[in-house]
């Protein structure tokens, strides 16, 4: 048992996730009392019994059509939401890049936001001090780093956010469709950085529709279809089958 927990970074054990769909959600007390038991409630089962084990150092892609539950699975792994039933165990420091720039304060400078954003990922001041120059260099923001974030263009904003997230040195990285950050030059740089992280034995899980970059980056792909795992295996093979059905 001990061995199993150290060998795997992420273990998804028979996970179900149901979302409650409430039409005209009663947010206020009045609505709650007046429409007592009258609100239409439906359930939408997004994940239906997912079993998945991801080894340490693996780079895994989650593919599937829209609404197949990829992002939900990723959110469950980061503990933003919790499964209806089943269990998810993660092993090691985890960083998720679900959406970039979460928690940036527009009035603070880029540098201050680096500190704030990195601390959301659980870094201490000393750890951030050690990385701050790398982050600034990677973002290529130069002197703009001392300007408030509200003056940034959306590309600069994304570059800063990505640079922070990629430099926090997590053992597990969860990435949701954000490989398309910035211009071609920066995208290439991100891609190179991901490849470097992959070589340094990090566990990476990517949700993406850009099948070409997945092919280059991942050794394993998991195809989710209507909340279940349709196929799990070697990337090229899975993508081939996926394209036959959904292409």
């Amino acid at each position: 048992m001990k061995k199993q927990t150290t060998e795997y970074s992420i273990i998804v054990d028979n996970v179900y996730k149901k979302f409650k769909l409430v039409y005209d959600k009663p947010f206020t007390l009045k609505e709650r009392l007046v429409f007592w038991n009258k609100t239409k409630v439906g359930y939408h089962e997004v994940l239906k019994g997912i079993n998945l084990k991801i080894k340490k150092g693996e780079t895994v892609a989650l593919i599937g059509v829209n609404g197949s539950g990829k992002s939900t699975l990723l959110k469950l792994m980061t503990k933003i939401i919790y499964p209806t039933s089943g269990k998810i165990t993660t092993n090691g420091k985890l960083t998720s890049l679900l959406e970039l720039g979460a928690g940036f304060h527009p009035d603070f400078t880029g540098r201050e936001n680096i500190y704030f954003n990195a601390s959301i990922f659980g870094l201490t001041a000393a750890e951030i001090d050690a990385r701050v120059q790398d982050i600034i260099d990677f973002s290529e923001l130069g002197e703009f780093i001392e300007a408030p974030v509200r003056t940034y263009s959306s590309g600069m904003y994304m570059r800063l956010a990505f640079s922070v997230a990629i430099n926090v040195d997590a053992e597990i990285l969860l990435i949701d469709e954000i490989l398309a950050v910035g211009d071609q030059h920066f995208q290439d740089k991100c891609f190179a950085k991901l490849q470097e992280l992959k070589k340094s034995d990090k566990t990476i899980v990517i949700v993406s529709h850009s099948l070409n970059s997945i092919k280059k980056l991942c050794d394993r792909a998991v195809w989710l279809h209507e909340g279940q795992i349709r196929e799990d295996g070697q990337t090229n093979k899975v993508i081939e089958d996926y394209l036959k059905v959904c292409g």
Binding site: F19, K20, F27, T28, L29, K30, R32, K75, T78, K79, I80, I81, Y82, L94, S96, L98, E99, A102, G103, H105, D107, F108, Y115, F116, A118, S119, I120, F121, G122, L123, T124, A125, I128
Partner: protein, 255 residues
Amino acid sequence: MLKELYQYRQLLKSNVRKEIRGKYKGSFLGVLWSFVNPLLMTLVYAIVFPFLLKSSQPHYTTFIVIAVLPWTWFTTTISQGTSTILANGGIIKKVYFPREILPISVVTSGLVNFLISCLIIAIFLICSGIGFSPYLVFLPIVIILQYMFQLGLILITSAINVYVRDAEYIINFFVSMLFYATPVLYSMSMFPGWVQKILRLNPMTTIIESYRNIFYYQTAPDFMMLGFVFIVSIVVLWLGFVIFKKLEKGFAEEL
């Protein structure tokens, strides 16, 4: 859980800084507003109330300011704390971090403000000629009790407010009502014994009285009553964590 909070201490630190600095960004006086506000309130009370209550309290302004400043900490904590989870919905939906950090940083930034505003109290004590007493050593105990009590309260209210958005309004009404049930503008000795007993069920009564004992009357606070407040605070804090932990799992979906 404490281990995880310790690991995220930097987030707590930068969040407190953000609460303090971010709030008044763009205004001329900036952070000074946290002190100007209670001072203006004190000024109004000091002008109006001597007419209403034929109070023979010497140094009435000092008498009030000692209570208004901790009371300001209480009200800002409760009103900001209750809405803190909703206000930070954006990050909660996108990143994992221990959610308790949010209410904790609200109370803590209030604490920082209050500690600075103790300087104002000191100025009043000097100018009115009351001076300082050795009972100041008990001050940290009172502050810690108030901190615990408030944290417990907003752990509960912030979590409930996600599910029932009325909570914010009900609680804010309740807090402004509580203002009159707390000896901020008056002293307890104005009332017969049985009224005092009822008022003392409110932990803020004892807390405010203790500040006044330490600063104004220069006596030791009532340790029996502080013991009672301590037990209440522990219970509220424990209950707060239990409720918060239970409700936090649904935060990202409800927001």
